[in-house]
């Protein structure tokens, strides 16, 4: 019975988060990788904590309150950070789910260790505190790190601020949890009540944001591409802007910039269409020429260089979400 309380709450919580992902942003393959990473980090954290305790002569209290939160959160965050840099995560929803999965893996391994180590001592009460409280805290902290990181990544090209704010938040929450300022059962109750509400609110807000983004961007990109295909771009503000760049760039570079803009619109529309299809439960569509077009847009990006990309910023804001979008086409 105790083992059920120790293992299932966090898995059920993860399952609920997965079901809330209406745009199907999360891929099962990556979710499994996250769980495995979480499992592995338990062993790494154990070794690191034991090593640092013997090296710096920390007692158990210092280790639990200040050292373990740092090492564990750092280790758990590594994989999520890599996923963000590889544009595998685009929104707070997938960041939270993948993050929670890492924490789930960690908590499952940690609770297994406790169960095997304590034997009869792993009673129902301890299982409830560890299963409902500690395990969900482990998932929650990585999810928070992921949400902060992705939120910052969408605003800036540097991941430094997101990484530092996200990590500090995760470490502080973990450390505060380990302080047990109120009784463990009350703390567990607070986690069970607060965290789902927070996640639900974040998910709803992100879903609304995603729908608005799709609504605005999809229509305007189609309008723009339609103008390009009809040769009417020059009559638009975007066309006027491109024309104004004549004075600053060589004609060949301008042609590449025009092609880059046009190709970006085409690919971006297809990526958004696939999001809509996934949301409605349809399989995504992949035109046979997608791969070559993705290759082309990368080459064009290189050719126009940083200066060209900066000049095109009012038309193509190639930041995290846009790169994620193109990456989605590549990996489907």
């Amino acid at each position: 019975m105790a083992i059920l309380f120790g293992f299932f709450p966090v898995l059920i919580f993860l399952g609920c988060l997965f079901l809330l992902d209406s745009f199907k942003l999360v891929r099962v393959r990556w979710l499994i990788f996250c769980l495995i990473w979480g499992l592995l980090t338990t062993a790494m954290a154990y070794l690191l904590n034991t090593w640092s305790a013997s090296l710096f002569d920390f007692d158990f209290k210092a280790l639990s309150l200040y050292v373990a939160p740092v090492t564990e959160e750092l280790l758990k965050a590594v994989f999520l950070f890599i996923m963000v840099t590889r544009r595998q995560i685009g929104f707070m929803i997938d960041a939270a789910i993948y993050g929670f999965a890492i924490g789930t893996g960690f908590a499952l391994a940690e609770n297994t260790w406790y169960y095997l180590h304590l034997g009869e001592g792993f009673d129902v009460l301890l299982a409830i505190v560890r299963g409902f409280g500690t395990a969900i805290m482990h998932g929650g902290t990585v999810a928070i790190f992921g949400m902060v990181l992705i939120e910052r990544a969408q605003r800036s090209t540097s991941l430094f601020s997101g990484t530092s704010i996200g990590l500090v938040s995760a470490i502080v929450i973990h450390s505060l949890y380990n302080h047990f300022m109120v009784s463990p059962l009350l703390q567990t109750l607070l986690i069970i009540v607060i965290l789902p509400v927070v996640f639900y609110m974040v998910f709803m807000a992100t879903n609304n944001h995603l729908q608005k983004w799709l609504e605005v961007a999809f229509s305007s990109e189609i309008d723009m591409l339609r103008m390009i295909r009809k040769g009417q771009l020059k009559d638009t503000r975007a066309g006027n802007y491109l024309t104004s760049l004549k004075e600053h760039f060589d004609p060949e570079v301008l042609v590449d910039m025009y092609c880059y803009f046009s190709l970006y619109l085409e690919l971006s529309i297809k990526a958004k269409r696939n999001l809509l299809l996934k949301e409605s439960g349809f399989p995504v569509m992949l035109e046979p020429d997608i791969k070559s077009k993705l290759k082309e847009i990368r080459l064009l990006r290189k050719k126009i260089g940083k200066a060209g990309e900066l000049a095109l910023l009012p038309l193509v804001r190639m930041q995290h979400r846009e790169l994620w979008e193109l990456n989605q086409l590549e990996n489907q």
Binding site: Q211, K212, L214, E215, F218, S219, I222, L225, R226, R229, E266, I269, K270, K272, R273, L276, L277, E279, S280, G281, F282, M285, E287
Partner: protein, 109 residues
């Protein structure tokens, strides 16, 4: 946006008039779900008087298509204005829906 319903032959012809955008999407979705709940298995969406569609509108059409596929029903779109047809073509949605030039062809086909 106005949604009209007419029974012609074996089909329920649903006329969409106006803009199918975010503002109208909820109301149209509700109407379409009501229609689907009446277990019609052959539906034609007559878009003759639909002059705008956004991603919210496309989402509704996808929901209808999904439900129709689940009951092995038929959903056809007809009379798309050129600008709307272009949206379907550019985005690739024209490969997902059966789009016919006019109502007569849709009823025959």
């Amino acid at each position: 946006m106005n949604v009209t319903r007419t029974n012609i032959d074996d089909y329920l012809v649903v006329g969409l008039q106006g803009r199918l955008d975010t503002i109208q999407a909820d109301a149209v979705e509700k109407t379409m779900l009501e229609i689907l709940d009446q277990e019609h298995t052959r539906i034609i969406l007559d878009c003759k008087e639909m002059d705008y569609i956004s991603s919210s509108g496309l989402r509704i059409l996808l929901i209808v298509q999904k439900r129709m596929l689940a009951v092995s029903g038929t959903l056809k779109l007809c009379n798309l204005q050129p600008s709307i047809q272009e949206i379907f073509d550019i985005s690739g949605f024209s490969m997902i829906f059966t789009i016919l030039p006019d109502l007569k062809t849709a009823l025959k086909d």
